[in-house]
């Protein structure tokens, strides 16, 4: 059973709706009691880094999630700020991240961006895979996804970077290390590509 982590931050219903349409069993996990029989985790997130981390701590689920992901190695995917939370820390806040993937979150530098490129990075952009992965099976040849962010994940180990996108500079937009995945763009709002990706995750 997939658990969509509901810690008061993020677009829970959009994910639920997609899995419902695919007839893939899911549940919405609001507390530690909801995490007993889960085999996969979705960690959504919007808003600021500290607000999201604080909310996750307040939900009481953090330690249990550490155990499920790091000890039991069940697959997890962090989405948008949920991906950034996988890092050790972020330029956007003071709190520590989950540290599940070796990296930190950086802000796009205004100086490196063309004058015509606004911040946040908002809209549909292409992503390019560094490595093949089942997550991207049966997607369109052109991998276009919806982005909405001003910060990005910087991997300390290049092998953790699964895909990159370009906005003024190339940046990692999908990370992976073993059972841990993260994606900066919004698959839940990226039409058929995004739905297929979430289906693939459900079928890993």
């Amino acid at each position: 059973m997939i658990a969509i982590i509901d810690y008061g931050v993020g677009n829970i219903k959009a994910f639920a709706n997609i899995y419902k349409n695919f007839n893939i069993p899911y549940k919405i996990a609001k507390s530690i009691d909801d995490l007993n029989d889960v085999t996969k985790l979705i960690l959504p997130g919007v808003g600021s880094f500290d607000h999201a981390m604080q909310s996750l701590h307040d939900s009481g689920m953090k330690e249990k999630l550490d155990e499920l992901v790091l000890d039991k190695k069940i697959p997890v995917i962090g989405i948008c700020v949920g991906m950034q939370m996988l890092a050790k820390k972020s330029d956007e806040g003071q709190m520590s991240g989950l540290g599940w993937i070796d990296g930190e979150v950086k802000k796009f530098s205004r100086e490196k961006l063309d004058i015509n490129l606004p911040l946040p990075h908002m809209g549909w952009n292409n992503i390019v895979l560094n490595q093949e992965n089942r997550l991207f099976d049966n997607l369109d040849e052109e991998l276009r996804f919806y982005f909405l962010h001003s910060y990005y994940f910087q991997c300390n180990k290049s092998e953790d970077s699964m895909a990159i996108a370009s906005y003024g500079e190339n940046f990692t937009c999908v990370v992976n290390n073993n059972n841990i995945y993260g994606i900066q763009c919004h698959p839940e709002k990226s039409h058929s590509n995004g739905m297929q990706l979430l289906k693939n995750f459900g079928e890993l």
Partner: protein, 253 residues
């Protein structure tokens, strides 16, 4: 490469969708959920839905309707109408909306932008400014569906909005609304130098050519339209439409 965004804007009035001309003469064009379903099929870039009754009637946003729209929507959804507090904004995000649009409340109480951005992140806070040409040059900002003129200076106000942490600014031309004769390019030329966040223009698009003109000139920009995506032909028959992928890509080159 990041593409310009082509965004249908839907107006909700008396629970139905309407389209106006110069913020008047509302014509019923259909059911909101049905429109979202069609736009899903057409894989639109984003969608803006504005409840034009909420502020005027001084009532809460219609959370049930927002939830239904967000649940149906497979592309990013921006909702606006009647949002005055951080709590309301938070509640709307939790219903599955990606961005919230402020208009009256941002003009009357700009500090709310900072408060909301702190909770939900600046990237999700949009301000829609309804503007009208002055008789002797320049533009005024209006609220409450074009009825109330604000004293704020447009150029200064867009700078202030960005200092307060807005994530996107939508400029909506009251003069061009529903006219389908092209965007107000002077408006954007005048304001663009002051804007470093994503910017979207609304009001006046009558053809894909109008959108192409906007993109050719301003590159990465949000091209928003109402009439263009709900009417077809010279008699303005109601027909929800949106460019196909290949038509869209032609606009980008």
């Amino acid at each position: 490469m990041l593409s310009p965004r082509i965004i249908p804007c839907l107006l909700v009035h008396n629970k139905g969708l309407v389209k106006s001309v110069k913020f008047k003469d509302y014509k019923y064009v259909g059911d909101p959920i049905n429109a979202v379903k069609i736009f899903n099929e057409k894989e639109v870039d984003e969608l803006i839905v504005l409840d034009i009754d909420a502020t005027v009637e001084n009532r809460e946003p219609d959370y049930k309707m927002i939830e239904n729209l967000a649940t149906e929507c497979r592309m990013p959804l921006c909702y606006g109408g009647g949002i005055k507090t951080v709590e309301q904004a938070q509640k709307i995000f939790n219903l599955g909306v990606e961005k919230i649009a402020l208009s009256s409340s941002a003009v009357e109480n700009p500090k709310i932008i900072t408060e909301i951005a702190r909770e939900v992140g600046a990237q999700s806070v949009v301000v829609v400014l309804d503007v009208k040409k002055r008789l002797f040059g320049g533009y005024d900002i209006y609220t409450e569906n074009g009825k109330k003129k604000s004293k704020s200076n447009l150029e200064k106000f867009v700078v202030e909005l960005q200092e307060l942490g807005v994530g996107e600014i939508v400029l909506n031309s009251i003069d061009n609304d529903g006219m389908m004769k092209g965007y107000d390019l002077n408006l954007i030329e005048k304001i663009k130098p002051f804007i470093k966040v994503p910017m979207t223009l609304l009001g006046g698009a009558g053809s894909l050519e109008d959108i192409k003109i906007l993109i050719d000139k301003f590159k990465i920009i949000g091209c928003c339209a109402g009439s263009l995506f709900v009417f077809k032909g010279k008699y303005k028959a109601v027909l929800i439409n949106y460019p196909k992928k290949n038509e869209k890509y032609k606009l980008f080159n």
